[in-house]
Amino acid sequence: MGPAEEAKRPYLTLRELSAMVRSALAAVSDEIWVAAEILRINVHPQSGHCYLELAERDEEALVAQMKAVIWAGIWRTESRRFETETGRQPSAGMKLLMRGRVSYHDVYGLSFNVLAIDPRFTLGEIALQRRKTIERLEREGLLDRNRSLPIADVIQRIAVISSENAAGYGDFLGRLRSNPHGYSFALWLYQTQMQGERAESALCRALQVCRAHAQRYDAVVIIRGGGSQADLQVFDSYAIAREIATMPVPVLTGIGHLRDAAVGDRVAHHAFATPTALADFIVNRAAEFEDRLSLLGGEISGCARELLGRRWQEIVRVAQSAEGIVRDRLARSREQLAVSWLALGRDARHLCTSWDARMEMAAHRLVRAASAMTAVAGASLQAVHARCRRASAWCASSARFRMRGVLRSVQRAASAGIAWGGHLLEKAHAQVLLLDPKAVLRRGYSITRAEGRCVTDAAQVAPGIVLDTVLWRGRVISRAERTLKGEDDEGRGEDDISQGG
């Protein structure tokens, strides 16, 4: 806008000029929508007003440029809304669609007074940009490279790319360490700046360092600092996406976005909305692995049990069939035995009864014979007895009779005998009396004994011998003088003897 030439005076005061411009600008003083790229952006620390330098390019060359301002009150609500919607803060290079009106200040000049920002426009721009980056990565074969890497069943050794005091990192750590299963995880932190202008290069370097050790880890985890959504655009950077894509181990991101995934998320192996979700994934994966272990263990033991069971059943079946056979045979044997037993019983009973009969018969016969014999014997005995009695009675009577006769004759004979005897006795007594030596001796005879013997012969006596001569009264002891022999000398001898006696 060039200065106006028309005037009553040959010139205008600056104030008049401003007024003229202001009135001329009334034509565009209505609220209008303007799309522009942010060339520079600055929020005044005290006032909170946001000052921008807007521009338009044609093939990199600036074709338009204008100042803009967003008053503090509007900026607070609009920037928050914008950030929520787009995941980033208005920043240089970003294209914005703004509603506002052109204002002209006498001191500050022309500027576009922004009343509202439409984040959808920016989103579309971001999406377009992303699409372009993704197409490029795809062309270079990087888009799905990391995703195609095999991921460990248990992600236990973890490289973490984050900033140590970032809230997201704290959440992640806490979630991992307090996992309910008691799993352990080893974390190595590659610290980096995640916000600000230098965020992209710092993150890029951290990723490169991590890559050098990557083989030691089960995964590389990228956790965004937390808090503001504004630094998300780093993850749309081609350079970062390339680093992630070419990492030799799976990269997991937990950079906290609400809408579309950043390019970094797209090339990562797994992307999560929050660091906490990422931690849960790691824990759950380990838990799933353990479940699988348990399941496998259970199935193995189940299978083993079943196998054992089946073998056992086979054994039982064999045993049962064997048992069946044995039982069958037993039953049959038992039947045979029962039959035999019955037969035996029958035979035995039969035998017994026949024997009984025979025995009974024999017994009968015996009894009969015995009684017959007894009867006969009794009869003959009685007969004998009678005869005996009779005979003895007769004997007794005849004997008694004879005895009486005998007795009588005996008595008679005895008394005759006795009488005779007496007579004889008396005669004998008289003779005996005559023969008594004493009587003889009285009559003068003596008895001479020599040496204890009666001397009847003179020859018995030798001269000198002692003679014992018994007289009727007394005895004479003498000695023989001489002996004389012969019959004639009998008298004398007697004398001699008597003399000698």
Binding site: A152, D153, V154, Q156, R157, H181, G182, Y183, S184, F185, A186, L187, W188, L189, Y190, Q191, R205, A206, V209, A212, H213, Q215, R216, D218, A286, F289, E290, R292, L293, S294, L296, G297, E299, I300, S301, C303, A304, L307, L308, R311
Partner: protein, 77 residues
Amino acid sequence: MKAGEKMTYRKAVEELERILRELESEQVDIDLLAERVKRAAYLVKLCRERLRKTEQEVQKVLAEIDEEADDVQTAES
């Protein structure tokens, strides 16, 4: 997971799966059954223990690997 390492989770699971397949196909001799089951139990126990190894133990393993690989620069972190 490093290729030459002794027993990895993956290897353990693969072996368990092999054992299960073997048992399911009933190719296992009854005499080997106990051995297989014992091996399976050992693997499950090993993995469970390793999951709960202390963080320090796991880090120690990492440190050992570090010593082996001298060419790796860990200046920046």
